[in-house]
């Protein structure tokens, strides 16, 4: 008559049930079930697929953000980097390459470089991440207006259009991209020594450095990854939209941070997982969709959005007191 809790499998199941990512998944499931009863058509396969497709963009931005936050930093330039990617890609069109792959790679290299510059500022100049990335965002904002001149640019790139619109086997290509990135991110975070160093650095940077974690190169890598995934999100959002314009990335700053925190990652660093960020991103998109259903004025919509995030934080985002 041993209780099921005592067995190894039972204990493992209990750990999963009590974990924060699972809590977020449960909230998403509950919201989806309630919403599909209340609002007709919400639970339809097409609508849910659309929600996940939208969540893919947030999920990609939040992938880099999760890395940065776990390593003890924060990246406030992700929105600007998404915009850089979505605006500069249409400007790069080479006739020689009919697939458009080179342009995409060039843009990803550019955004990764921007991320690396953030990392350089944080690691070598020791500027606080918040200041470094905010200043980078300000800088990019100015640069973008100089480059794009404030008008929308249409993407002629076939690869980008494919990513945004194709549905191999009924699943949007963007979602497939997200799944692939998620697998790589989770593996890098939890199954490599790089991942272990991240957690060590976020929990206690001094102890980590003294134990031989290369502070500078790890920080560089983390911000570089954030630049890369933000660039990828920019490509996806450009594909879905067809047009890039200054300001296209703006919603993704708050969304990425909220997804990370709602997924149970500590904003103080050293604690968390991308497995929580994934349902966090879906939850955010769901909230936004529900608010649109309510059909309120922009003021009320903004208030509802903020209040719901605050309420969810109360449910799942409490920081344990730790020193």
């Amino acid at each position: 008559m041993t209780a099921w809790k005592e067995t190894v499998g039972g204990r493992r199941a209990l750990t999963i049930l009590r974990s924060r990512p699972f809590l977020t998944v449960a909230i998403v499931a509950a919201v989806w079930i309630v919403a599909s009863f209340v609002s007709r058509g919400f639970g339809a396969y097409g609508h849910l697929r659309y929600l996940v497709e939208l969540a893919a963009v947030i999920g990609l931005v939040a992938a880099g953000q999760t890395f940065v936050v776990i390593a003890g930093g924060i990246d406030l330039s992700v929105a600007a980097i998404v915009t850089v990617s979505a605006v500069s890609l249409p400007l790069l069109s080479w006739q020689a390459d009919p697939t458009g792959l080179t342009a995409v790679l060039a843009v990803l290299a550019l955004t990764t470089t921007i991320g690396l510059v953030n990392g350089l500022g944080v690691a070598l100049l020791r500027v606080h991440p918040m200041i470094m990335t905010l200043a980078m965002a300000t800088f990019l904002q100015g640069l973008l207006i100089i480059i794009a001149g404030g008008s929308a640019v249409t993407a002629e790139n076939p690869l980008v259009r494919w990513i945004g619109n194709a549905r191999p086997a009924g699943i949007p290509a963007g979602v497939l991209l997200w799944v692939a990135v998620s697998v790589i991110v989770l593996a890098a975070m939890h199954a490599t020594s790089f991942g272990a160093r991240l957690f060590a650095m976020g929990a206690n940077p001094l102890a980590a450095t003294l134990s031989g974690v290369p502070f500078a190169s790890t920080t560089l890598a983390v911000y570089g990854i954030s630049g890369f995934t933000s660039g990828l999100a920019g490509v996806l959002v450009l594909g879905m939209n067809g047009q890039g314009y200054v300001g296209i990335g703006d919603p993704y700053l708050l969304a990425s941070i909220a997804a990370v925190v709602l997924g149970g990652t500590s904003i103080l660093g050293g604690l968390g997982t991308y497995a929580g960020t994934i349902p966090g991103a879906i939850l955010l998109v769901t909230i936004t969709a529900l608010i649109t259903v309510v059909n309120a004025s922009p003021g009320w919509r903004s208030i509802l959005f903020g209040s719901l995030i605050l309420g969810l934080l109360l449910l799942s985002g409490r920081e344990q007191a730790r020193r």
Binding site: I74, G121, L125, R126, V127, H128, M130, I131, M132, L134, A135, M136, A137, T138, F139, L140, Q141, G142, L143, I145, I146, L254, I257, A258, V261, S266, I267, L268, S297, P298, G299, W300, R301, S302, I303, L304, F305, G306, S307, I309, L310, L313, L314, G317, R318, E319, Q320, A321, R323
Partner: protein, 321 residues
């Protein structure tokens, strides 16, 4: 007898201690002075009564939000809702002051809103133990939404005489700023004010020594809210009307000013005079770039570069040493 002696001793210690607190910001003071001299040289209008009035008026709101951010950062907090609070203060002022409440009633409403929302934010952050950066980010949506509800598009009005008093050819802004700085000095002498630095520097140690840590932090949020909506009132008086998104730029600028002024992110490090000097430097930079004919776009680029440079260079020198 001995108490008199010790209090006199404490009095004698006051100025040396204050001088010592200047050490970290001396370089900044020098840069600000250099900028001021350059500015006065480029635009001699600064030294006329109206030039001085205009200059302090353009600095005043930034000084207030820099103080609002600095108080929070001293206690180890931060707010990303500064801009939204400024907007809310502006729209409340613009919708109430010409109505039945009158100027006094409107100003009271602005002040109560600031203290109320600030205190509520503080309560959520401190008592419910949620991360300040995320709470205020979510709060900025709620507060910004409230501002949009009160005034969906720019409009409303501020009585003519109030605009003239605050933003006309009078040094009212400067006088107000001096008053606020004096009040800050007084506040630092109260029990809550004394607890401010302790609560930011070492909350656990302070708590064990009987310092009201939670009270000091919630009070800091409430004061910060009051300063923000006050800045909003002033901005509304400057423009003569309310605008639900007028404060947006203040969030970044308040953090930049506080950090330029040597306030640390971890709490307990920095001085208010530093934050004020930081805001003055930022304000000077913006006006000099404006007068030199930089486009707003180039201003963004330059501002980003200067902020990084100003923060990085002292840090870099410290690392080199």
């Amino acid at each position: 007898m001995s108490t008199v002696g010790s209090s006199r001793q404490a009095g004698a210690l006051y100025w040396p201690v204050q001088l010592r607190r200047n050490v970290g910001v001396r370089g900044l003071f020098a840069v600000v002075m250099a900028f001021l001299v350059a500015y006065g040289f480029l635009f001699p209008g600064l030294f006329t009564a109206s030039g001085f009035a205009k200059f302090t008026q353009s600095w005043f709101p930034l000084a207030l939000v820099a103080m609002a951010q600095a108080i929070l950062m001293l206690t180890g907090g931060i707010s990303l809702a500064i801009g939204a609070m400024v907007s809310l203060g502006a729209v409340i002022a613009a919708t109430t002051m010409t109505g039945p409440l009158g100027v006094a009633g409107g100003a009271t409403a602005v002040a109560l809103t600031g203290v109320g929302i600030g205190g509520a934010t503080g309560f959520i952050v401190v008592k419910l133990r949620l991360p300040a950066i995320v709470v205020t980010l979510a709060g900025s949506f709620i507060i910004g939404g409230a501002a949009l509800l009160i005034l969906p598009r720019p409009g409303g009005a501020i009585p003519e005489w109030l605009s003239d008093l605050l933003a006309g050819n009078t040094p009212a802004a400067f006088v107000l700023l001096v008053l606020i700085v004096l009040l800050w000095k007084l506040y630092l002498a109260t029990p809550l004010g004394l607890s401010l630095y302790a609560a930011g520097e070492n909350p656990v140690g302070a708590y064990r020594s009987g310092v009201p840590v939670d009270g000091a932090r919630v009070a800091a949020y409430a004061i910060s809210g009051l300063l923000c909506t006050g800045a909003g009132l002033f901005v509304a008086a400057q423009t003569g009307s309310g605008d639900p998104i007028i404060g947006t730029a203040f969030t970044l600028n308040s953090i930049a000013a506080a950090v330029l002024g040597g306030i640390g992110f971890l709490g307990g490090q920095g001085t208010m005079r530093g934050a004020l000097a930081g805001s003055l430097l930022l304000s000077l930079m913006i006006s000099v770039m404006f007068f030199l004919g930089f486009t707003p776009v180039a201003q963004y680029v330059a501002q980003g570069l200067i902020i990084i440079g100003a923060v990085a260079i002292p840090q870099f020198r410290k690392v080199q040493r």
